[in-house]
């Protein structure tokens, strides 16, 4: 547990220092924003592999005979048909149909689900879910965040590098599935999931087992120029892949339908929190939507910059939710909410960059998707 104002260290803190990590505080943890070069780390993940410490992420278990019913109540996605060993992306909903958080739901057993949540939202989630569970028979909410370190090995070489460390057959582990197995003699959840747009694995192990696993993966990756990668590359990678970041692209004021996440909103299930709002929004259509854009002249749009529908507008319609110079595509790209009538690809609008307005154009999301083999 971290005290207010005092950043916690992950079990890999010493590894980050040894690797020259530039440490910053993020969601209450001291984590590396980069080691030697953000763009090198980014390209390593796209072309080879990169290893991330994501131990700051929260893990919350929902347990008990009514675990499924409880998950169905809080989530806009439908988890009814999930088999054990499957992971599913969803939103934890407020009654307004907006996000408490976005999360990966793992079905561990018929009576147990593991929710992997954003670090910054961990305590908010635990409080929200615990309160709901109080009125709910036979479903318990257990914060397991301190029991897990999480390493993410991401990139096209991830399977090749990881396979020698585990007796499990990784070739048979499909995307968005996981196994509870063994890595280097230690118990692990091995999930074929990630937040980079590449193939890869997220590994959940006991904190004490993390440093040895971290070093071993990097040793084995060294001949392939696998790099440790920091928060900076994690952000540019997920951004290019069009994956939402809570606090930037989605939050407690946005619904999954507005965020372009209609595929996680299901109505062929029972009642759930926020359902009526989402159903109405689906029928009537959303008034605004999250889009991807590129800058058409010089300038980089960044999180928080005002979005103008016309160049001489004085009031912004919204603010850039995420934006940067894309290392893979070499362009200044961004995401923002626009009125639904202005969301067609090719529509022009403007971003206020300091004291000038720069033109931008709506493009398809995601900006980048890997070639499926």
């Amino acid at each position: 547990m971290s005290e207010v104002g005092v950043a916690a260290k992950t079990p890999l803190f010493e590894e980050h220092l040894a690797a020259g990590g530039r440490m910053v505080e993020f969601a209450g943890f001291e984590l590396p924003v980069q080691y030697t070069s953000l763009t090198e780390e980014h390209h390593a993940v796209r072309t080879r592999a990169g290893l991330f410490d994501v131990s700051h992420m929260g893990e919350i278990a929902i347990r008990g005979p009514a675990a499924l019913d409880f998950v169905q109540l809080i989530s806009c996605n439908d988890h009814q048909k999930m088999a054990v060993g499957r992971a599913q992306y969803t939103g934890i909903m407020y009654p307004e149909g907006t996000f408490v958080d976005d999360t990966l739901v793992h079905k561990m057993a018929d009576d147990e689900f593991l929710l992997v949540v954003n670090a910054a939202n961990r305590h908010k989630n635990v409080a929200y879910l615990t309160e709901l569970a109080a009125n709910f028979d036979s479903a318990d909410v257990v914060d397991l965040s301190n029991n897990f370190a999480q390493l993410a090995l991401q990139g096209p070489l991830a399977e090749e590098i990881l396979q020698p460390l585990t007796p499990e057959n990784l070739g048979e582990l499909k995307y968005y599935r996981f196994i509870e197995g063994d890595i280097m003699g230690t118990a692990a959840i091995i999930a074929r999931t990630g937040y980079t747009g590449e193939d890869g694995f997220e590994l959940y192990v006991a904190p004490s087992a993390a440093p040895r696993l971290w070093r071993e993966i990097l040793d084995r990756g060294q001949p392939h120029s696998v790099l440790p990668a920091g928060l900076g590359a994690r952000d540019t990678l997920r951004f290019e892949a069009g994956m939402s970041l809570y606090g930037n692209d989605i939050d407690n004021t946005t619904t999954p339908l507005e965020a372009g996440l209609g595929w996680i909103v299901k109505f062929k299930k029972g009642d759930y929190i926020g359902r009526d709002v989402l159903e109405r929004q689906k029928e009537e259509g959303v008034e605004r939507k999250l889009i991807g854009f590129e800058m058409t002249e010089r300038g980089i749009a960044r999180h928080g910059y005002p979005v103008l529908l016309a160049q001489d507008d004085t009031e912004p319609f919204s603010y850039v939710t995420s934006g940067t110079q894309s290392p893979t595509l070499g362009k200044a790209l961004g995401m923002a909410y626009l009125p639904i009538e202005a969301t067609e690809v090719g529509t022009e609008f403007f971003v206020q960059i300091r004291n000038r307005t720069a033109p931008a154009r709506v493009v398809e999301l995601p900006f980048y998707s890997r070639k499926k083999v």
Binding site: V33, Q34, S37, L38, T39, H42, G232, D235, T236, R298, G299, I300, R302, T324, Q325, P327, A332, R354
Partner: protein, 127 residues
């Protein structure tokens, strides 16, 4: 961390090189290292006048935006237009081809540091 002896330094991490009636301005090796790979440089217009400490322009890495300030008062005589297409010169050659602007004016009366003073300043900053 390279700190050439023939330059003067501002506490905001710009360097200046005095060349007769004008000075050229760039950012130090330390500053470019802190910033990371520069992907975009916004330079002032030639002819604009600046006071000491005014924002001359911005340097952007993938992660962050950072201003660079006028280490001396003066008018912009020339900007390094190569940086439009090769912003990485700021990283690769911060004291040479990665220069930013040339200003009229001199370093007289400004609170600038020599190489030894800047080195000491950096050591205090990181202490």
């Amino acid at each position: 961390m390279t700190i050439p002896d023939d330059l003067m330094y501002a506490r905001s991490h710009e360097w200046i090189k005095i060349e007769g009636d004008s000075v050229s301005v760039g950012i130090s090796h330390y500053a470019q290292d802190q910033l990371g790979e520069v992907v975009y440089v916004e330079l002032p217009e030639v002819g604009t006048a600046f006071a000491v400490g005014d924002e001359l322009g911005t340097l952007e890495s993938v992660k962050a935006v950072s201003e660079f300030l006028a280490p001396v008062a003066g008018e912009v005589l020339e900007v390094n237009t190569r940086l439009e297409d090769e912003p990485n010169l700021v990283n690769d050659d911060s004291y040479g081809d990665g220069w930013l602007v040339r200003l009229s004016g001199s370093a007289e009366g400004e609170e600038l540091l020599d190489a030894a003073g800047y080195k000491e300043f950096l050591e205090q900053e990181s202490a």
